[in-house]
């Protein structure tokens, strides 16, 4: 059901794990639909220097999180904010229709992490 890119990210997910002292953390999803993604970012000079994820979810959720971390690393916050869930799915070469809604939320998690970072900055 998944293409090779998705399966590669599912089998060899990039940038897994909790981050010590992240600049921002974003979490999306809920247990009802069975996907919870957590994105950790380290920001330096407006650039995402490092990014990690933890995901409870299906193959699509894990692969989306993984590919997002690759898409984002080294990008400015503005560039990162422009990334959409759709772009993440495209980067994976597409996801099954049924997975587009629940499991393809990595960009949302990223945006939340950036928000979190910005709130901390202004606090």
């Amino acid at each position: 059901m998944y293409n090779e890119i998705v399966m590669d990210h599912f089998q060899n997910p990039r940038n897994i794990g909790e981050m010590t002292e992240p600049s921002g953390v974003g979490e999306v999803g809920n247990m009802k639909c069975g996907d919870i993604m957590k994105i950790f970012i380290k920001v330096e000079d407006g650039v995402i220097e490092d990014i990690n994820f933890l995901t409870f979810g299906c193959g699509a959720a894990i692969a989306s999180s993984s590919v997002l971390t690759e898409m984002v690393k080294g990008k400015t916050l503005e560039e990162a904010l422009a990334i959409t869930n759709k772009q993440v799915a495209d980067e994976l070469g597409g996801l099954p229709e049924a997975k587009m809604h629940c499991s393809n939320l990595a960009a949302d998690a990223l945006h939340k992490a950036i928000e979190d970072y910005r709130q901390k900055q202004t606090a």
């Binding site: 599912f10 897994i16 009802k32 639909c33 995901t55 299906c58």
Partner: protein, 387 residues
Amino acid sequence: MKRIYMDHGATTPMREEVLEAMLPYLKEIHGNPSSFHSFGREARKGMDEAREKVARALGASSPEEIYFTSSGTESDNLAVKGIARALSSRGNHIITSSIEHHAVLDTVKHLGEEGFEVTFLPVDEYGMVDPKDLEAALTDRTILASIMMANNEVGTIQPVEEMARICHEKEVYFHTDAVQAIGHLPVNLEKQPFDLLSLSAHKFYGPKGIGALYVRKGTKIKQILFGGGQERKLRPSTENIPAIVGLGRAIELAVENIPEKSAALTALRDRLFKGLQEEIEDIRVNGHPTQRLPGNVNISVAYVEGESILLSLDLKGIAISSGSACTSGALDPSHVLMAMGLDHQTAHGSLRFSLGKENSEEEVDYVIESLKEIVERLRKMSSVYKK
């Protein structure tokens, strides 16, 4: 890659003996059993023999109590809706359980939308219906109770005989969905007072696309499909002779030596349960500890989602299923697990292994080892893992 199939609850491979029985009917014996001529008669002979085999396997008092349908789903729909149509002038209340297969559950819900009163009995944490709840739910408007013999997801075996007796005291028909039970639990309709019973051949090494409904003589029921006069007008359409013959052969084989086969499968099942519990932390057994189908193992693995486990197992050639919504295209996880009181996370992390006659101890051990490795790996990337 060697592949391991532990999804017999979804469907089973067809036995060679069954295909052998079917082949003449897929080749030279091609007539329509309703036809008047020799081609029709030879087809009818195959069908009559198959009907006798099914009747014998179930302990039915006559082959005339057996009606062939296209599947378990159709048998369930026919039982529930056919009784509702026949008895709507007598009453409009139907009782079922909250853990039925959708073929019963959604048919009852549909009748509810059409104006029937419907009751969905709860289950306990083991997925067991309490006969007292059934008794309490009966009213003088009740016409039918439908409770499955064994649950397809968690394997829990229901006290259907007791429930049938309770219904009969109030002159209420009792239907049981035995789709998962045939070949695993002994059925003897001489002693078990069910009025209707559904079965589906592909769940016991028979062909797909063929089922049967047992209807006790004298039971009032109406057709739900309209057409020719086949199956004594209860189920029209040109009979699927090859599949009917296959069903006959499959059930004959399925009911042979049930005690021995069940004991062997139970031993394998318990080896799997034990191994999983010893090797993997934080797993929960779903379903009843003892009142369960011999081949059924259902667990919830904490902190990980079912589909990602299935996907990983599939990469190792291991085929099982899960109660995760993600594997069924549904929005919510299994209604069975939810009815048993599981929370969403636990339900999403549920796995069903359904063992069959080809599975071996080596396969079981390989599956335990593989799952252990997979769970460790997935927990490492889980956002909800607590350690």
